[in-house]
Symmetry: C2
Subunit: 128 residues, 2 copies
């Protein structure tokens, strides 16, 4: 059994729209943008987003309740995000390089980490 490699129509539409945006987009942003392409209800967007997250093609930004395309197609492991509060740009960076101290803390507490969220809010180079 091969894992599903192609995207459905809705997934493709949502993914393409996210890859074309520097900013994180909410599910309802995506819905509004894609109504002309046949998406009509929030649940359709959330279903596509869920699958794309499962495939590792996009990430959810918890502090914005919004979504961005993954920009590290090759990498394994978790990602962190730097979010500019002025222009909205989101930049992804790989976490494994940075996580060792936190992993160590968790190991000391016998806490088994399943998912790590790291989000930096502030000003990007051009907006500071």
């Amino acid at each position: 059994m091969i894992g599903k490699s192609v995207l459905t129509r809705h997934q493709e539409l949502v993914y393409r729209h996210l890859t074309g945006s520097e900013k994180a987009l909410s599910a309802y942003d995506l819905l509004d943008a894609l109504r002309g392409e046949g998406l009509r209800a929030p649940v359709q967007v959330y279903r596509a987003l869920g699958k794309l997250i499962d495939h590792g093609l996009i990430h959810r930004i918890e502090s914005l309740n919004a979504f961005v395309a993954c920009t590290h197609e090759g990498h394994q492991g978790a990602a962190g995000f730097a979010i500019c509060d002025a222009c909205g740009e989101v930049e992804e960076f790989p976490l494994p390089d940075h996580l060792a101290p936190i992993d160590h803390w968790a190991a000391g507490r016998a806490f088994r980490v399943e998912h790590t969220t790291v989000e930096l809010r502030g000003r990007c180079q051009t907006c500071r």
Copy 2:
């Protein structure tokens, strides 16, 4: 002019309720719990939560859309959270010890960090 040091009635109610909970509580959890004390509308809870966050007495957990009392009253700087998906317990830990690598990344990008969110989801020692 002395900075306001005492809490208003609503702020006190919300803060006390949070300090009595191991888990993060949503604004609506708090509203339901405090209706008997005179809180009637979401906006009243959100106002109290906002002030408590300003005062550094509580933290928002982005990945839960919920709130916890700060358990490091003395410390300065940012906090991270380990959240057990089984029992809901939230444990706070001080971040400054762990952030150096990420700060270094941000400095290299000329990104000025104003707030850092670190949330670990997983299983705590007793639930794993």
